[in-house]
């Protein structure tokens, strides 16, 4: 049996409350309430608890751990993801993979660990006034989190799906690199997206959350924060309700949380939604705007040999050539990576139905897939999306796709097809409703040039939600300051990917860890005499 540190912790007396099992209204008090247990909340909770502060962590999703992770998509997606891994933008043109469980997206991500790219930081300093976003300012925070989460080069050869991206790039003279991963003793199974069954992935679930709980923090799972109650310029209480079942209909018992300080780490859809539901002051209507996704397009290739994209570390090779070789604020650039291939994910991402779809699925073992993640938010024509509330208070992201992004998507299709043919593909097909497999680069070029680009023609996915509560010195342009503190409400902070003023141009987990650590350390110092000593 593989030891399960979460079950061991529960047996050892961690304070964990299942809100959905509560029958009566209740109140919890703490120094700090942290809303969300993902990359931002996990790091924040541990640092505050280490400083001797009492912490209550509120998480909408359920507590699941390695003993529950069976590497089966049909179990994992409904339990661990928002909308069963099918969250979508308002017009359904973009599908968003986002965690909804204890550990948040870190429980289900693919372990790719990148520091915030220097060009992104430079843009934040020059265009968004973030004086503290220097590489040297952040280096200690990256180092701290890399050490905490065992982020290091991955010594194992890439699986074939990744290696084909590397070989294709090599043959075309396109620089590619190896992705660092947050793993310790990884079995190289390939099921990171369904929860790590061996606890090798150093997600929040097995690192900072156990760290916080061992220091007396309380975790309330299956509770959704509905609103913050404000008096003057301070929050006086937070109100939560249980989330029942796998769907998310609210339960009856109410939970009131009272604290000296409140930290929102509910992710870049969840945190803006809480601010909007709470009707906090937002005179410049900034909350929820400028939400970014790295809109991602996909290209599938049929290789002459087996690829078995389900097996082995899902992401180990990348290329930033199409980010680094173009102006950061020009036509949209893109990062190249590969996704893992599992039957449901492949089944719903390959376009079409019936015989045509069945033939693509029949090539499953030989499928090689490349993704291009568009760096949105740097150009004036890339304002991102907007989180709004539906009539029932749930959040919805309206992210209109337009010609600025479509132009980049078409370029990305061309790049991916060229790389896949260079790697030896027999057939390549952009995942687009109007595309058909083609057998050579010349034919691909022609077919891609002719693809109609409009919402719900290209398959567009995202696993990275950023922005919506941007940080910055100027309250007319930013929701929080450079310490993560709300500009207009005294005892409220935001520690998650929603503080980024643009997308990152890199998988976000390490950026969130570093900024959250920096914010949390500052907060601990202001709240706890012990931390100052």
């Amino acid at each position: 049996m593989i030891p399960d540190p979460v079950r061991e912790g529960l047996a050892a007396g961690w304070r964990v409350i299942d809100a959905a099992a509560q029958e009566r209204d209740s109140t919890l008090e703490a120094d700090v309430v942290v809303v969300g247990s993902g990359a931002g909340g996990g790091v924040t909770a541990e640092i505050l608890a280490e400083a001797g502060l009492s912490v209550v962590i509120v998480e909408e999703g359920p507590l699941r751990s390695s003993a529950d992770f069976h590497m089966r998509e049909r179990e994992a997606y409904p339990q661990l993801y928002q909308e069963s891994a099918g969250r979508q933008t308002r017009d359904k043109a973009i599908t968003i993979l986002q965690g909804r469980c204890v550990g948040g997206s870190t429980t289900v991500n693919w372990t790719s660990s990148f520091r915030t790219p220097p060009r992104t930081l430079a843009h934040w300093r020059s265009a968004h006034g973030l004086a503290g976003a220097g590489e040297a300012d952040l280096a200690p925070w990256f180092e701290r989190m890399e050490a905490r989460l065992d982020i290091s080069p991955w010594p194992v050869p890439p699986n074939e799906n990744n290696d084909l991206l590397r070989r294709g790039c090599e043959r075309l003279g396109i620089p590619a690199g190896a992705i660092r991963r947050n793993v310790k003793g990884c079995w190289n199974l390939g099921y990171c997206g369904m929860g790590c069954p061996t606890n090798a992935k150093q997600s929040m679930l097995v690192t900072t959350l156990p760290g916080a709980l061992a220091r007396g923090a309380t975790l309330v799972q299956r509770a959704r924060l509905e609103r913050l109650e404000r008096q003057g310029d301070r929050i006086v209480a937070a109100h939560a309700r249980p989330v029942a079942g796998t769907g998310s209909a609210p339960g009856a018992a109410r939970l009131r949380l009272v604290a000296r300080h409140y930290v929102l780490s509910a992710g870049a859809i969840g945190s803006p939604a809480i601010l909007l539901r709470s009707a906090l002051p937002d005179p410049h209507e900034l909350v929820g705007r400028r939400t970014f996704l790295h809109p991602t397009v996909v290209s599938a290739a049929v290789m002459p040999g087996r690829v078995d994209g389900h097996a082995g570390a899902p992401q180990s090779v990348y290329s930033d050539h199409f980010l680094d070789s173009v102006p950061v604020d020009g036509p949209v650039g893109y990062k190249l990576e590969v996704p893992p291939l599992h039957p449901i994910l492949a089944g719903i991402t390959l376009p079409g139905y019936g015989q045509a779809h069945a033939s693509l699925m029949a090539a499953f073992p030989n499928l090689q897939v490349v993704i291009a993640l568009l760096r949105d938010g740097f150009h004036e024509r890339s304002p991102g999306g907007r989180v709004r509330l539906r009539s029932d208070g749930s959040p919805e992201l309206d992210y209109p796709l337009d010609d600025f992004l479509f132009e980049g998507m078409r370029r990305a299709y061309l790049t991916m097809a060229e790389i896949q043919f260079a790697a030896g593909a027999a057939q390549v097909m952009p995942l687009h409703e109007d595309a058909a497999p083609v057998t050579g680069w010349a034919a691909a070029r022609e077919a891609i040039a002719a693809l109609p680009m409009a919402p719900l023609h290209p398959r567009v996915v995202s696993a990275h939600v950023m922005g919506g509560c941007p940080m910055g010195p100027d309250a007319s342009r930013a929701v929080v300051d450079e310490r993560g503190r709300h500009h207009l409400v005294g005892n409220l902070s935001v520690h998650d990917g929603s503080v980024f003023p643009t997308s990152l141009g890199a998988n976000p987990q390490l950026s969130i860890y570093a900024f959250a650590a920096r914010f949390a350390r500052g907060l601990a110092e202001s709240l706890s005499p012990r931390a100052r000593a």
């Binding site: 099918g86 796998t246 998310s248 209909a249 492949a346 089944g347 019936g354 779809h357 029949a362």
Partner: protein, 176 residues
């Protein structure tokens, strides 16, 4: 190619029917059919009619295995929708109210037969029409229906042999 005028006509009809469908979907609420968590009898019949067209070429050939695969796919579809948020469930309920209404089925989906009698080629033509529609709403409806069915089938281990997926690895004696 249909003319712009025809497109507009279908678009207006779809809009009007969707508005009506929303009203129908919520009038007095909907109750799950026997054996289902979310699907009512009428929606279940639609899902059942969609399966052979959406999963043509993927389902088992032998009649018994095929019948079982269809049954399990409809059941998985039901569980999948039951696991979504109330807001998304309401949108899917609207879609089924539109398709389940005789006028909606005929005018917007272009399916003449009642769902229980609809032939695979009729259903396939409907899917094609929505897939290539100029209306984003219909393309979204097509993608929702096909993706829910594809997820429902490919989550089922019975689908894996045909696509050469060996299933998750064993962790060496650990029950999984």
């Amino acid at each position: 190619m249909a003319t712009r005028r025809q497109f507009l006509k279908v678009g207006l009809a779809a809009g009007a029917l969707l508005a009506g469908a929303g009203w129908l979907a919520f009038r007095g609420g909907r109750a799950p059919g026997p054996g289902y968590q979310w699907l009512d009898a009428r929606s279940a019949a639609i899902v059942k009619a969609l399966v052979p067209a959406v999963l043509a070429g993927s389902l088992p050939v032998s009649p018994d295995a095929r019948r079982e695969a269809v049954r399990e796919t409809v059941a998985a579809f039901d569980r999948a929708v039951a696991g979504l948020s109330p807001a998304i469930q309401a949108e899917i309920a609207q879609l089924f109210a539109l398709l389940g209404n005789g006028a909606g089925r005929f005018v917007v989906a272009g399916v003449r037969s009642a769902w229980a009698e609809a032939r695979e080629d009729e259903v396939s033509a409907f899917l094609h029409r929505w897939r290539t529609s100029r209306f984003g709403l219909l393309r979204a409806g097509y993608q929702a229906l096909t993706q829910l069915l594809q997820a429902s089938w490919y989550g089922n281990p019975a689908s894996w042999a045909r696509i050469g997926y060996p299933g998750p690895p064993s962790l060496g004696g650990t029950p999984s």
